[in-house]
């Protein structure tokens, strides 16, 4: 529906088009600022070959264009409900590395305990969901097809796991670049597709050309993570005439001292990942 409403917004410019007037431009505005939050951006997956990092930083004013300043010198402990325990090493400022070769296990709840140098303690936890495996990728060429630009489109095929309650995202890596622009964000549950054969929906919005390489992952996430990404999708694609008032997205992290005025945002994502690659030929 969001796209639908965006299209509506276009219509509102109609009288303006007639007079060659502009509808939408950048503006300078002074926004309020607040005490920085701790920003948690951590991922743990089920693959031993990928390095998992927990990034800690401080939030900044919305119109501050610098990078989020890293939070150094924190003590970050990862533990699992299976008894796993590891104190993470800070390999670069604000980046805390999970031990190489670690692979999360389905059904295990993982917990991060973070103690920052300002004596605040935070906690975040999530359970590894069951894993959706990708079956195959195919490629089709679209030409003169309505809203689609001409070119190659990659399709994914798999059977959705029987039993409701699965939540999925897709990741697209185009010529070694992860496609993580606001318009790429998409998360869904299996309410409408439970146990069905997923028959080749397109992965990409922008067409591919011959010689391009693509890696596609189906990412299994928790219900809470799916809601987090859906809320974020609304927030980062929320503009135009009928923009909703901005709202906070959820977070699975919390300050262990509820009376502290130091707040936390962000997400500790525990996920299963199944990846296939293809070259457009």
């Amino acid at each position: 529906m969001t796209t639908a409403l965006k299209r509506l917004a276009l219509l509102c410019c109609l009288p303006a088009w007639l007079t060659l007037a502009s509808c939408d431009d950048k503006i300078d505005l002074k926004l309020n600022t607040v005490e920085p939050y701790l920003n948690l951006d951590g991922t743990l997956d089920d693959l031993p070959e990928t390095a998992d990092t927990i990034k800690l930083s401080s939030t900044i004013g919305y119109l501050d264009q610098s990078a989020l300043p890293p939070v150094r010198g924190a003590q970050v402990v990862l533990s699992g409900s299976d008894g796993y325990r590891d104190t993470l090493a800070e390999v670069r400022p604000g980046r805390y590395l999970v031990e190489p070769g670690f692979a999360g296990r389905v059904g295990i709840t993982y917990r991060l305990d973070i103690a920052t140098s300002d004596n605040e303690r935070y906690e975040a936890s999530a359970t590894m969901p069951r894993k959706q495996v990708l079956d195959s990728l195919t490629v089709r060429r679209r030409e003169n097809e309505g809203p689609f630009q001409d070119g190659y489109y990659v399709r994914v095929w798999f059977r959705e796991l029987p039993g409701k309650g699965d939540n999925l995202m897709f990741e697209e890596v185009r010529n070694d670049t992860l496609q993580n622009l606001p318009q790429n964000l998409f998360a869904v549950n299996d309410d409408l597709s439970d146990g069905q054969l997923i028959q080749g929906p397109d992965v990409n919005n922008q067409p591919y050309k011959l010689g391009d390489t693509v890696r596609v992952s189906v990412v299994s996430i928790t219900e809470d993570a799916r809601l987090f990404f859906q809320e974020m999708q609304v927030q980062i694609n929320n503009g135009g005439l009928f923009a909703q008032p901005p709202a906070n997205v959820r977070s699975n992290a919390r300050n262990l001292n509820p009376n502290s005025n130091k707040r936390v945002t962000g997400y500790f994502l525990v996920r299963g990942k199944s990846t296939l690659g293809i070259r457009i030929r």
Partner: protein
Amino acid sequence: MPAASCGGQPKTVPGVPMGEGYIMKLFYAWGLAVWLCLAVCGVAVAQRTADARYTLSGYIRDSASAEALLGATVYVQELKSGTTANNYGFYSLTLPAGRYTVVFSYIGFSSRTLTVDLQRNTVLNPELGQEGLQVQEVVVSAARQEREESVKSVQMSLQKMSAREIKAIPPLLGEVDLVRAVQLLPGVSTVGEGASGFNVRGGLVDHNLILLDEAPVYNSSHLLGIFSIFNPDAVRDVKLFKGGIPAAYGGRLASLLDVRMKEGNARRFTGSGGVGTIMSRFALEGPIAKDKASFVVAGRRSYIDVLARPFLTGGFKGSTFYFYDLSGKVNWKIDDRNTVFLSGYFGQDNYGIGNLFGFGYGNATGTLRWNHVFSQRLFANATLIRSNYNYLLRSNVPAQEFEWTSNIKTWQAKYDLTHYLNPDLTLSYGASSILYTFVPGTAKTFGSSLFNNFFLPDQRAFEHAAYVAAEQKIGGLTIQAGLRASLFDYLGNRDTLYTYTREPGQRGTVAVADPGYLDGYRSQARYWNPEPRLALAYTLNERSSVKASYMRTAQYIHLISNTTAVTPFDVWAPTTRNVKPQLQDQVSAGYFRNLGPEADYELSAEVYYKWLHNQIDYVDGAQLLLNRRLEGELLSGRGKAYGLELYLKKNTGRLTGWVSYTLSRSLRQVEGINFGRWYSAKFDRPHNLVIVGSYQLNDKWTFGTTFTYITGTPTTLPVAKGSVGGYIYPIVEGRNNVRIPDYHRLDFSATHKRPKRGRFQGEWVFTIYNAYARRNAFGVYAEPGRTFDTQGTTEMRRIAIFGSVVPGVTYNFNF
């Protein structure tokens, strides 16, 4: 002030059918009793005769068309007192026997002075002629009585506009518009350029009761708010009550916009119309039976789509965007005692991008009225009303095909009586019943859609009201006191009954679902509210008066919208067990003065203060569309609004117009929102300055200008940004925490009258809107970078509806 607890608490425990039936019966019995009582009272009063006093009554009409002149004034020189005609042109004065000089006047018409030797009850139906359209050099005292009405009448917080005054304001794109004109009045603002509707004294758009010939209009906008649905060729006049709303009206908190359609010329056929930049209009009126029955029909259609068609290529090919409306009215004067009116409106907006996506919305209203003069001193009006608002959203996008419809339908019956006891005492009373059907949303899917069909169950409700009001003059003091009692009966269906639990400010979660399976519609919650209305006016001298008023209003249906401007897709929702009726108490006081020998200037200063109870607000990130658990997204809080309105109007001479300045605030407080602190409502705009001027150079040329300045709207914008997975998202604290830039705009118009050829008169209207091309922000939103080059950056973007000068030209004609 009394807290929100006054009046409504649900009177029934749901799922107790025994009590249910009993109360229903009692209730209907009450309804019947009220109606019977009114009828009996009416007849009884009608039969009583006064001793040594006689009644002068009749209809005041336009001599050219035989149309009634609503609100025309009747002034008895010997008594220095008088009355005004009601909304149907009927007046009644009961005076001691004697010889009187009676002056009948109406704005824009030459007044008529008649000598009456009142030795028995007398019916006098005077006809007034329009002022010579050519002669404006010195406008004679024709409408002086009428102008003095603002000082003399007990009514305050009222703005009247005639079609002629509305037409003098420089119009956008050459198209005269009633709601845009109303937005220039003191105490009135909007949330943004071209936003749908208007805000009165810190109230929401849905706090306005908009009546088109008595029928409620649920969405007054065309083109998403840039124009309104009222065709100026079909409108007779318009009144905006910002306070002191008569007890006969209720159901909305803030204001009453009473739009009356023309009756149609009962003497000869006339027509009018226009060809403009974006739309064309045509209206025709004339007699069906001379002096007995007449009609008016008027239609408009926009044609941007036709003009733009050649430029639409690619995905935009096949796009549609147009609106049209049809208004019509027939009236039949059966005899001196009975008149029947039938009026209707039908309008629709249709838009679509290519063949992929489309939407449409529209209103349909119908009013059947019967005016009956029981006696010279008792006037009755029976009305049957139908009003419907619907919208449709359609997607043909592969895999996302759906068609989504929603509507609100109402039936209403009303019976109003006015009893003119003597010149100093008028009594009015009546009753009204409304049946609502809400269809919040039905989504049907088709083609290759991945979605399932989806619907929300209908909801129904009754809204009943009875009122009595009296106006008494005691020397220089006039007192108008009224009491309205309203009763709302929510009829729930299965699937609409949930009980919610919630943390303050958070989304409610369902604690109890479907407490009992209900196959039909049964009363689930009932609220009643007494709505006292009181107005006092004290005439200091011939030229000045002070007035004060208090009113309580109750509102039982709510427009659910959390965007800056309301959209055609917002749905109306009833009061239920979870949503309480909104209530408002308003006090206002004012000073009114006329200046100049012919009341050339009107000056008024009013202050008001409002207490608002059970105001609806929304949880952060509220999901308002197609949500079965909508009530979980709604919060309840309180509000206050206060302000000062200054208004100076020049009525006579070559230069006419007004200056208005409003200083006001509108605040809300909701538990759990904005840390529980008071915050600005989204239409809180402290400073509002309007200058409207019209200068008649000669018989051919008239020039107009408008300047408006208004504080920018408050809006919620991020206070920080967070980042996960390379995505930058906003962090929000507080509600409406930043103001967007102030709004100001200057417009010009020039009207050139062509020489008359026979009966045909044409004129060209040239307009320049937004003359210094200010990009007034309609809204501001936060936008993260959308390309790899800009990933991680953030900016604020401004939406301006008109980013440049908007010229327009229209050719109008009448014959």
